[in-house]
Amino acid sequence: MSKPQGRKNKEIRKKEGEVSRRSVLKMGAAAGAATVLSPIILTSKKSSVYGQTGVAEPILCAPTPVPQSPPHTPFLDNLPVPSPAVPQFLFPIPTKNANIGGGEAARDPHQRWEEFTPAVTYQLDLKASTHQFHSEYLPSYGWGFNGKYPGPTILNAYGIPSLVRFKNSLPDPTLSFGTPLTTVHLHNGHTGSESDGFAGDFFGTGLFKDNHYANAYAGIDDFGGFPKGDPREAMHTFWYHDHLMAETANNNYLGTNGVYIVYDQTDPPWEFNTPGSLRLPAYYGLTDFPLVFLRQRFCPTDTVNGRTEKFQVVGAGTPGTDKVCVNGKIQPKLSVRRRKYRFRMVNTGVTAAVSVRLVGPDGAQKPMTVIAVDANFLRHPADVSATTTPAQLDIHVASRFDVVIDFSQFSVGQSAYLAEVGNPQFVSNPPPPDPAPGLPIGNVLMRFDIIGNPIIPDTPPIPDTLVELPPIPAGETYFEWGFRNIAGNNPPGNFRVTHSAIPENDANHDATFLPFDPFRTDHVVLKGTTETWAIRNDTMLGNWLHPVHIHLEEGRIIEKTICNTPNADGCNPANRTPVTMPPWEDGNNARRDVYPTQGQERFVIRLAFRDFVGRYLIHCHNMGHEDAFMMVRWDVVDSVAELRRRREQINAERIARGDTPLYRKEDLG
């Protein structure tokens, strides 16, 4: 009886909030501060319930039998373009030390704060909202930055430091399967650890946290100039996402991610000729599109509650999925003209890879050109076509591929398809006819409609050499990470990471298989040094691909091998045979931050640790695996004495729990 009134009150409150925010732009700073703060003051006076957004919590459908998603008509919706984030003034004003009184989450002070005073600031408010994934669906409950899925795209430039205030306005309690805590990682920003979204640095509803992004190239300490750092270290396509320890999959499945693009002279946001520009398709939303992939499954449409909820069993891992969304729409279409377009593909998972290829109206595979991987330009761009090896682009979770497609190879009125290899999604029963000969509709991710000749003139051909990469780091010391799935009861366990400082020495790996713990450091490196890291996937041959992600620094792959005849506890180095790497893995042509490691494969990479200290992570980015603790904290320290002290401490901890000491005498610094 009184419910409608309550709802009305809330609407009024919401409107007031909006008005005050808008008026900030018109008013002076002081007046603005007062109006922005006033809702906070009001909230704190209220009862214990907060973080309300007026969005009804979901009623999850029955977990068994697992439902089939509602059918949909392909190519009904246009590809949405996530809107760019709008810079805004922040009140309270961002500070170097956490502003605890003002409601900021506890953290270490920002590093290099004075050197990179934020020039652009944003606020992204993480809250519950609804999103329609297909126009034949009703809205689905989810969580998004500023209530949007995908979150707003942050467009930044090297040389202009930024700061993003991530505010947690998630409902607590929630009836969804997410956990209303958050910590936001800019994947793979070169940032101080306090702004890196460390999995243990989560904060609850009502708090905010300022992440400081220097937008400087790595190598700040060694290179002067403007923008600071080594320009060869430029990275462009990032994505930001929730990194809450052990709950990352559920929170990302609810939609807590977005894209972050940093421009520079080489890769500016325009296409006309400016000094140093590669002249790639660059107009965001016109010739340059992010493509954010997310696999999902939906509950049957609930007309009573007006929802088509995402299917998920609370707490029961990630569901088998039967729909793939691109920028939050199922099988969308995009009108293009006969010219080159850039697509920044991000696989947000949450667990499975997306393997794509371009298919023409005749059903034949057409070429597309990979220009960047994991935000880094390839030295030489690489084609993916029917005649290349591989003939498809495997985009593992968290990997980004910037791909240029030249639609001048098609005629006006034709359609081309971004198709997935394997894994057809469910469309309807019976399925619509194949859109192109030999191309099942379920394998199509999206359709490109070629509607005319270009209005914006086409960009020149892609250069044969895009960039010169920085030299491969020397790799002074060696460290090995073993990614294992420990089955059986002795010891029991799951996805674990083991470590050794001695190459291919299984006896030196831990035997206690401890789970991820934000309170335990498993490796310490010295700022300003380089290391050779080996990433071993010690699960069965051909089993469990682990897309391993390393925070802070990009790596260069110098070797990839597979062990074809593993023995019980590892691999005899003599049994390792080299694996041919695609151009987007080879360290002479590419830089990576995600290393897709097949069962019994081993990557040897080189890394330099620069500019920042603190706590960082290495983990499997299959979010189901990282939530099952396949993650490790490693630290960067800035003095040899500290390195020795910390490494001795790790040795002592390992001996105390019955493992071999990790570091040898020569590793102690």
Partner: protein
């Protein structure tokens, strides 16, 4: 008045935009109830018959672990750790927090075996800590429903999830997991995520305390020891 209003909204089928209250002992509106937990008739280590959902889960905050009586691998270490966790939370155990150890080998483990296991590990007779066995089909259903990760290879291996501890609060519909072999502070923090929602004042106070801890650590150790 506001509070009474949202109390009446509890248990409604329709999602409500009204604030949701949390009442310990009352299942959350979205609780999957017996459809996921099952209401199977199980036996405790005291040979008492219990309904899994109605008697053990409904409206409660619970910790659920897997074990089997003849396990000699890491089970003793895990049980020892669980005992330490139990001691940390002693004031709540049996009142608003319950710990259930369920056997993955119900065909071998009868109530007497579970009792023997509890005695052997020095955890017998602790209020709020119950060992459970039952019909193998029921036990397997519960294990699968609660511990599955939708990875067939992992989910069919009964040993695969023995290192998980599920943290479930049926009154807030919160489901979390932690590995009990993680550090005590991590285990306790994860359990607290399923606690009844905190007030803003509580969150602010905890945040302030955390910042004090960070500042102290930086002063004493020079880095985030987090110990």
């Amino acid at each position: 008045m506001q509070r009474r209003k949202f109390l009446t909204n509890l248990g409604r089928d329709k999602p409500s935009t009204a604030p949701r209250a949390h009442v310990q002992g009352v299942p959350a509106a979205g609780s999957p109830g017996p459809s996921v937990f099952t209401n199977a008739l199980l036996l405790t280590h005291e040979n008492k018959q219990v309904r899994f959902y109605d008697d053990l889960i409904r409206g409660r905050q619970v910790l659920i672990t897997l074990m089997y009586a003849t396990c000699e691998g890491a089970c003793p270490a895990i049980t020892l750790k669980l005992l330490k966790v139990y001691e940390e939370l002693k004031d709540r155990m049996g009142k608003d927090l319950f710990l259930y150890s369920m056997t993955v080998k119900p065909e071998e483990d009868g109530p007497a075996d579970l009792k023997h296991y509890a005695e052997m590990h020095g955890v017998y007779g602790l209020p709020g800590w119950t060992f459970l066995t039952g019909d193998p089909y029921d036990m397997e259903t519960i294990r699968y429903n609660l511990f599955r990760m939708d990875h067939i290879g992992v989910d069919t291996d009964i040993y695969s999830h023995t290192s998980f501890m599920k943290i479930i609060n049926d009154s807030t519909n919160r489901w979390l997991h932690v590995d009990p072999m993680a550090s005590m502070s991590t285990v306790l923090r994860k359990i607290s995520w399923a606690d009844p929602p905190k007030t803003r004042q509580q969150i602010m106070a905890e945040n302030k305390k955390l910042q004090e801890k960070i500042d102290k650590e930086r002063k004493v150790y020079g880095y985030r020891k987090d110990a």
